[in-house]
Symmetry: C2
Subunit: 183 residues, 2 copies
């Protein structure tokens, strides 16, 4: 509301605006000062919530990993890996601003405890998803199969978000790729 000294929920507002801006023009398109202007606060205000630019991206990545873990939970519990693969890619498509920073080691602080916690949740979900596969479907050790599955869905998500897969539905591709990978 105009006239109030405090914004009310600046942290959440800035996080959402940052995600939208990243989705539009990438992490480099994000300016802390522009975010502050949009929120109607002074240029230094966001720093209190995130410390610095890296802190903002780290918070966004942590939120993203949490949302990803949530998105995978249902299909993992159901033991349906093909659907887990589709859900993974769908998450990236629906949260491009989050996904674009989640794996960018140069933009985030890997020591952040909240980031590690949420990243662990997402990683566990994917591990459990692969663990539901019948052993005879695996041509390689389970750990390598897990990493290959992760690389496959991450690759599809990344290529799609970078525009390298035009005229291709990423969810369809994820389904087909899961079948090719695990029969």
């Amino acid at each position: 509301m105009a006239g109030t000294y405090h914004h009310g929920d600046l942290r959440a507002h800035v996080l959402a605006a940052a995600a939208a801006e990243i989705a539009r023009s990438g992490p480099d398109g994000v300016s802390l000062r522009a975010l502050a202007r949009d929120a109607g606060v002074s240029h230094g205000a966001p720093a209190h919530h995130f410390g610095d630019r890296r802190g903002l991206f780290t918070a966004l990545a942590a939120e993203g990993f949490g949302l990803l873990a949530d998105a995978l939970a249902t299909s993992v519990a159901a033991g349906d890996f093909a659907r887990t693969a589709v859900d993974y890619v769908t998450f990236a498509v629906e949260h491009p601003g989050h996904y674009a920073v989640m794996f960018r080691a140069d933009l985030i602080d890997p020591e952040d405890s909240e980031l590690q916690r949420q990243e662990g949740r997402a990683r566990d979900a994917l591990r459990d998803g692969v663990a539901t596969l019948p052993p005879e479907r695996l041509a390689v050790p389970a750990e390598q199969a897990r990493q290959a599955a992760w690389a496959l869905v991450h690759g599809i998500a990344s290529l799609h978000l970078d525009g390298a897969l035009p005229r291709t539905d990423p969810a369809d591709l994820a389904r087909a790729a899961a079948r090719q990978l695990f029969g």
Copy 2:
């Protein structure tokens, strides 16, 4: 040489220094002015060769796609897809500065003709590599198999470069992943 007005080969020098800096601290760590200082030229000199920051990254990406196409050529000609997968990942490991910008739509100019030419070469190499696989190994249409193969090696390369696969040899993983994907 000191004292000469012209650098001699500023373009190649800046490209190599930029690749090294990106490998060290990511694309955001690259400063045109710092590159100029290192090369011993004025801060505006690189602009003549690359136009702007985007032009520099575009030139680096084009060079990267060309090197990638070269790196894949031998194993593709031999019809050895597992080795093509390993060669792809090995290229990314050995040229992290190039690879980090090759798929970044927000950093490069997709209209650049040299970029399109080299990218086409790399894409054709990967397509030919998958085409050598016996049809009975494919559980899905060839186009989807090709995209899945690309996503798999790209995913391994990306995750490795972002530090998400510690204690894992990316070449070993590429070999195992190729076996899991195509039997």
